[in-house]
Amino acid sequence: MTKKPLMLLILDGLSGIMVLVAAGLVFFYAPVEVMMGMVQKVFYFHVATAWVGMLGFMVAAIAGILYLRKGTQLWDITGYAAVEISVIFFLTAIILGSIWARPIWNTWWTWEPRLTTAAIVELIYAAYLLLRKGVDDPERRARFSAIYAIFGFFSVPITFISIRLLRTIHPIVIGNAEAAASGGFNMDSPMKLTFFFSLAAFSVFFADLLWHRVRLGKLQGEVEQLRIDS
């Protein structure tokens, strides 16, 4: 059994503190938005979790490419870990978005293109997890899930482009004054600080979780190996 690396411990502490500070900034530092009131504060974590979700899917695609090129098991574990974490974060983002949408758009869910895209993305990676469950041979499982992660990541932007083609009510928050009518707003600097700090905090949190999950995957592999050897 390998000892937990010191860097990982530090990262644990750092991500814990950063997420707490981010929450503190959201509740005590960032001003209350004039039009929407308190519920707008969900925005900071809504975007941060969605960002982490997309980040993880990107990591999975890159890990997929690296696995196909190099064939090292580490990349397979990394890809799997990234998808597992991101599926949870992305689901959180969708739920937080719903909480925001209820008072502002007066509905929990609308078949607006960006929400639809989010639902599709979530389903793609749910399918990824099902695919992994269906393959017994580890080498084949790694190959197939690498390919599927690459495909999934290619299809996301194309699905996203369809947003531009259909009319949308989802606000484009940064740098767009016209969006105000549909629940968009301009951020003043305390808001911007809170926003970018939340993004950073969740990114560090993601890196921490990913490291843990990769480590767990490696240990799992070792246990499997020991079982075969004995």
């Binding site: 599709i120 495909f151 194309i158």
Partner: protein, 224 residues
Amino acid sequence: MKSYLNAVRAVIWKDLTAEWRTRENLSAMLVFALLVILIFNFALELDIQAQESLSAGVLWATFIFAGTIGLNRSMAVEKDRGCLDGMLLAPVDRSVIYFGKAIGNLIFMLLVEIIVLPVYSFLYQVPVFQPGFLLVVLLGSIGYVAVGTLLATMVIQVRTRDILLPILLFPLTLPVIIAAVKASQGFLQMVPLDDIAAWLNLLIVYDLIFTSVSFMVFDYVVEE
């Protein structure tokens, strides 16, 4: 290049000949497609007023479902009788198998569509015979089959193969389905071409990207 094309043609020809002897796959797809339309007819109460806006959706749902059956079947046959291993042993580039199978599947899907469209047009008086609409059908089918053939090759090597193909395929091909439905709807409702052009572009881009990615990774799907 010439020998490459000959090899692709050989794979397509093999599929067509095998299919011609039994006609299992085509007839199953066709009967299934007609049944789907029948179900939609009752589920959505398709009358002349409703079909105006729903036709494109109903048609594409039918093609997609029938296509899944065809894809699953066409690759399962290769695996069950060890035919895939035989093809892999052939001294040709492996992408030959991908393109051969994909074009074969495309031909089957188009054949089903060629039969379903007049029937649908006859039942609901929909003007499906316009070049633009037929182009959308072709482009949409290409995108669907390009991804579908690759995933079907993957799925037949998996334990849960009977249920996995639609689960993997549908979310990935949703851009195709959205764009194809929107473009078909545009042509059926006589919308000016400018409004449809964006959807056509999206279909073309999707077809190009996913055919190339499939071509690049196919080697890894059949590797032993």
